[in-house]
């Protein structure tokens, strides 16, 4: 069965995420970060930040919720049981700091088929409360046996 490509270009509702200090610390601990700018408010302030800094990969926390509706969208048609996370790309802008409010919008960027595999690529664009793009993500999911 060929992949259906009609959903390319489709966007999903923006998702607002309020970055909390303890969530940043929980994330930093879970991935083994030890830089005090992520963990200690005083260290973050001494380094010139208003509050603790989110590690770059914290982008997953504020942007994945915006991408999820696309993965489950019947118009996209991903067979979730056969899906692999094939690749991931992030580009970062200004740092995200506890207290920031991040809005992320996801779009279906590409749907294609090669060698019996379906490639479903989503893009997420995350902006802070000042309208600056803090992260752009490209999420590649591969479905075997399409």
């Amino acid at each position: 069965m060929p992949v259906q490509t009609e959903a390319v270009g489709k966007s999903y509702p923006p998702v607002l995420y309020a970055v909390g200090r303890e969530k940043v610390r929980e994330y930093a601990h879970a991935v083994g970060e030890s830089d005090p700018v992520y963990l200690d408010v005083e260290a973050a302030r001494a380094a010139g930040h208003a509050d603790v800094v989110a590690p770059p990969m914290f982008c997953v926390v504020y942007s994945a919720m915006a991408v999820a509706p696309g993965i489950f969208d019947p118009d996209v048609g991903i067979n979730f049981a056969a899906m692999l996370h094939g690749g991931q790309e992030f580009h970062w802008g200004p740092l995200v700091i506890a207290g920031d409010e991040i809005t992320t919008q996801a779009t279906v960027k590409e749907i294609s088929e090669r060698d019996g595999r379906g490639y479903y690529v989503f893009e997420s664009v995350s902006k802070n409360q000042d309208g600056e793009t803090v992260c752009t993500g490209t999420w590649t999911n591969i479905v075997r046996g399409v």
């Binding site: 969530k23 929980e26 994330y27 601990h29 879970a30 991935v31 083994g32 970060e33 830089d35 700018v37 992520y38 800094v53 590690p55 770059p56 990969m57 997953v60 926390v61 994945a64 919720m65 692999l84 996370h85 094939g86 690749g87 991931q88 790309e89 992030f90 580009h91 970062w92 200004p94 740092l95 490209t138």
Partner: protein, 130 residues
Amino acid sequence: MTDFTVGSELPVVRVTPDKFVTLRYAGASGDYNPIHVDEGFARQVGLPGRILHGLWTMAQVARAQTEAAGRPQRLRSLRVQFRGMGLPEHELVVRSTVRESSGGVAWVDTVAEQDGQQIIRNATAEIALT
């Protein structure tokens, strides 16, 4: 700051994820896919047990770059391919080599291996040097 001239190797990051890291990462990230948190489910679908989140492993690759660069804002972009699966309680080794450096930006090729297998490969980090 680490030497980012072409051909330099960045400090190798070695980490052995403990048995419950996937549970903590699920809580921290919100990704509760049962292949990461439910031992019985993981085995039922043919996996050796609960597997690491790919994005946790990618976070180790990112950490190797930011620790070498000295500041998180120097990591401008990171692109990875996931292959195979990562397992708790097996040492993960992140190796990084500077491929190109020009205009104040270094391009670093990086891989993450477990038991000699690359579970992240063809990965490239972009590091701002100034």
